[in-house]
């Protein structure tokens, strides 16, 4: 028996109303809104947030492998799973891999994780799918795409949901793509690609699966059905004769958008959040072929301390002021002022030496007097004892805002920069604040830590932690 032990999700704080895109560019407004990553988020930072959500109450050292799935890896060469593993504090002998390129990357990683557990090479595999795809300005893709992440702990004991059956086929087909030089998703003419690509493959995959397994599709409690957009999913639902009201997992096109490799995984998390014992959940995912997974729910998810899941993140949001800001955040529109600033510097040896606190957010705790320091200190500032400390991870801690500014002079992609002093329990730290609404910031407001991209000094993404007002208080 193999299946899902835990799951988590992440949806960025900011949403862009589709009507705001139409306001700026003209044309039809489209319905609803889409979730958009802040300027300091990418698929790695969102993956970390979803992984932390999934691992609430679970010791990271029990994770034997980490699979990271995304079509928007910040690196073409250099593993992104390694970054996530270091942030989470996984064991050094945890097996890590990136699953990329395909919109099926998320389900491919889940399937591969299940295989690893079945084979006995790992007991617990963490799968994280995260995507932040760009549609060119004014394209339907720009309207459709959203940003988000999902995470699962795959194992063979204490299963929330058991994997009952699976199916896959591969289909070489040029429908949508990005070559090594493309920033934006490109596509062939849409009637051809949806007819011969999505529709054909989903129907073939699900059709073969139910036939092979002798399953009556109408007896499945929930179908997680990936689709390019809200119109195309209707066609597939109709062809499969599914009851749209009760049987189809809400794809959140109007709230989040199509989150690429994370899309089907996020819907699966949402389905598990609502599932009852004994429910059957079927996942059908499309991209260069089709994956089908059938899960049997062993127990309802229930409340897990600290876990937010799709529901928690969905309800905690703020609207991006306008479309132009979105263009700026995605660097589609760059301001002359930004180009005239001297480039931000970075030093790889420093980031390597300080990885324990830069990525791991570890403070030092003096073993002599018990005081905590961030960044870690070799000599205790109170008792001056030398090298007598242990690391204490701060990433899950909640705290309060001690003092702050609104700095219009500081280098910032979203001026004013908010620089703060935060108290996280018994340790005080300086940090930048993100996902904030300046007018709402005040002393003593509850805050938490979030992993973000700071800049691209020296040509690579430089990650570290910021504080943000806790998402719970902003629903």
């Amino acid at each position: 028996m193999v299946g899902i032990k835990a799951c988590g999700a992440y949806i960025p704080f900011f949403r862009l109303k589709r009507e705001d895109i139409a306001k700026a560019l003209g044309g039809g407004a489209g319905r609803g809104e889409k979730a958009v990553a802040n300027f300091d988020e990418d698929s790695v930072t969102m993956a970390v947030a979803a992984a932390l959500d999934c691992l609430q109450g679970i010791e990271p050292s029990t994770v034997d492998a980490l699979y990271f799935a995304s079509t928007t890896m910040p690196y073409k060469e250099k593993q992104c799973a390694a970054i996530v593993a270091s942030v989470l504090g996984l064991r050094r002998d945890a097996f890590t891999s990136d699953f990329s390129s395909s919109l099926r990357a998320g389900t491919i990683a889940i399937k591969t994780a299940c295989d690893a557990v079945k084979s006995g090479s790992a007991k617990n595999v963490l799968v994280v799918a995260s995507d932040s795809r760009l549609g060119g300005a004014g394209t339907p893709f720009e309207l459709t795409f959203g940003d988000g992440a999902a995470a699962f702990l795959i194992g063979d004991t204490d299963l929330l949901a058991t994997l009952e059956a699976e199916y896959t086929h591969t289909n070489e087909f040029i429908d949508i793509w990005r070559t090594k030089d493309d920033e934006f998703v490109r596509s062939w003419e849409d009637r051809f690609i949806f007819d011969k690509g999505y529709q054909n493959n989903i129907l073939e995959g699900v059709g073969n699966f139910v036939k092979d397994q002798g399953i009556n599709l109408q007896e499945v409690d929930k179908v997680v059905l990936s689709a390019p957009d809200a119109r195309r999913i209707q066609g597939a639902i109709k062809a499969m004769k599914l009851d749209i009201k009760s049987q189809v997992q809400n794809p959140l096109f109007d709230q989040v958008g199509n989150t690429g490799a994370a899309f089907a995984p996020m819907m699966l998390v949402a389905a598990l959040e609502d599932a009852k014992k004994g429910n059957k959940i079927l996942v059908a995912n499309y991209g260069d072929g089709c994956d089908v997974l059938l899960f049997n729910v062993n127990e309802p998810l229930g409340d897990i301390e600290g876990r937010r899941g799709t529901k928690g993140y969905l309800n905690s949001k703020a609207y991006m002021a306008n479309y132009e800001k979105y263009l700026r955040f995605r660097k589609i529109l760059s301001l002359e002022a930004e180009r005239t600033r001297p480039p931000q510097s970075s030093f790889a040896p420093v980031l390597w030496r300080d990885q324990k606190w830069v990525l791991g957010l570890n403070a030092s705790k003096c073993n002599e007097c018990g005081r905590l320091f961030f960044p870690p200190q070799r000599i205790c500032a109170y008792c001056q004892s030398k090298d007598k400390f242990e690391y204490v991870k701060l990433s899950g801690r909640k705290g309060t805002l001690f003092t702050f500014n609104l700095d219009f002079l500081a280098r910032s992609d979203d001026s004013p920069e908010v620089f703060t002093r935060v108290h996280l329990g018994d340790v005080g730290i300086y940090c930048r604040m993100t996902d904030r609404i300046p007018e709402q910031i005040d002393i003593d407001m509850p805050v938490e830590m979030t992993f973000r991209k700071f800049h691209e000094g020296a040509g690579y993404p430089n990650y570290f932690w910021k504080c943000m007002p806790t998402r719970e208080v902003r629903t």
């Binding site: 700095d407 018994d426 300086y430 430089n462």
Partner: protein
């Protein structure tokens, strides 16, 4: 340790100061020559009389050699000192001990900074941690203090901004009476409050400007001072104090006070034998890089009780005609802050005031006896302060 040992051992016998500001037409060398020759003339000396020198600068020169090169000083000991905004006074501190030890009799101390050639409005960016070191600016760091000080003392931020504005108005007024100042315009509270924000709660007029400038002083042993002039100025104490920069890691760091500055003041007062600074001091030149810095320095120097400095601002205690005039020349607000020169600019102002020779008579205080200089580098939680005390003979 015998802190009193330095009290009154060393005397200032000559001071000089270049015009401060955007000195597009002057190089660092030009400003040094202006300041040094004013100090030489003041001391009644020539270049060849100088036996040793100290050069204070943060970024303008590396090594001490440029001072010899500019002044054509031949084969004398010169050291370069860098200690952030306390650079000049720390150079003076090192020079003082060489004089007090009896090794050199006529020592030149020079502070200089040339910032405006660099084409940036802020300070140059130094090495900092690639991620942890991002996001903070000098006004931003002081703004953290302002916000917390207001909170701890139940001051509404809007009211707090008004208190700070009065400090800016005072210093601009004093600067209007100082011919060598960068900004000589008078302002009012309304203009300060309407100015663009730099780092809330601090606005444009809460921040000093960057500037070019140089200042110089010539010192000798006090027992020889009378051979140069009757109205020499004695140095009663000079303390630079470092803390471990606990602000970044100390949970208890309050962000409403300057503990390092209080420690430097305590040491300097002990050197000088000052027990009641509010009463004993006749004038103070302190480090108003930001108005909130000046407000908290009133408390750090023991001039106002903790949390109550705003009452002294409201009462006008520290205005030019107040009980204890502070920043009589307009301070950093009026002069700008050429980092390595600022301390010796304060030495120039205090010395001239004690000698009754303020450059405009409207600014001359009535028979001042003791003056204090505070320069304060770094930022709250990570301060590098120097307190130096001067007195009439």
């Amino acid at each position: 340790m015998n802190l009193e040992a330095i009290r009154g051992k060393v005397a200032v016998i000559g001071t000089g100061c270049s015009k401060f500001g955007e000195n597009w037409d002057k190089s660092a060398s030009d400003m040094i020559i202006d300041a040094v020759f004013e100090a030489l003339e003041d001391a009644g000396m020539e270049l060849k009389d100088i036996e040793a020198a100290w050069l204070g600068t943060t970024t303008t020169f590396f090594t001490a050699l440029p001072l010899a090169e500019i002044l054509k000083l031949k084969h004398i000991p010169i050291s370069r000192v860098e200690n952030a905004c306390a650079t000049a006074m720390d150079a003076l501190r090192n020079a003082m001990y060489s004089v007090a030890a009896g090794v050199f009799d006529r020592v030149l101390v020079v502070g200089v900074e040339k910032l405006k050639d660099m084409g940036i409005s802020g300070l140059p960016e130094y090495w900092s941690h690639p991620v942890y070191g991002t996001g903070a600016t000098a006004p931003g760091r002081y703004a953290l203090c302002a916000r917390r000080y207001f909170h701890n003392n139940n001051i509404d931020p809007d009211k707090g901004k008004e208190i700070l504005a009065k400090i800016a108005v005072k210093n601009h007024y004093n600067g209007s009476l100082a011919p060598k100042a960068f900004f000589r315009n008078r302002i009012d509270v309304e203009r300060v409050l309407k100015a663009p924000l730099i780092a809330w709660p601090l606005g444009l007029f809460d921040c000093c400007g960057n500037a070019d400038g140089a200042a110089a002083t010539i010192i000798c042993r006090k027992d020889m001072a009378k051979s140069f002039r009757d109205d020499y100025v004695q140095i009663m104490g000079n303390a630079t104090v470092m803390g471990p920069g606990l602000g970044k890691e100390d949970m208890d760091h309050a962000f409403d006070d300057f503990p390092e500055t209080a420690a430097a003041a305590k040491m300097a007062y002990e050197q000088a034998g000052i027990t009641n600074p509010r009463k004993d001091l006749s004038l103070v030149c302190l480090h108003d890089c930001f108005t909130i810095a000046e407000l908290l320095e009133y408390e750090g120097l023991g001039l106002s009780p903790k949390g109550q400095s705003q009452e002294d601002v409201e009462a006008g205690s520290f205005e030019l005609d107040g009980e204890l005039p502070i920043n009589t020349d307009g301070g950093l607000k009026a002069f700008g802050h050429p980092v390595g020169a600022t301390g010796l600019r304060q030495c120039y102002e205090i010395s001239r005031q004690l000698q009754g020779k303020a450059d405009l008579p409207e600014r001359q205080l009535k028979d001042p006896k003791i003056g204090l200089s505070l320069t304060q580098g770094g930022h709250p939680g990570w301060l590098i302060p120097n307190v130096t005390i001067f007195a009439q003979p």
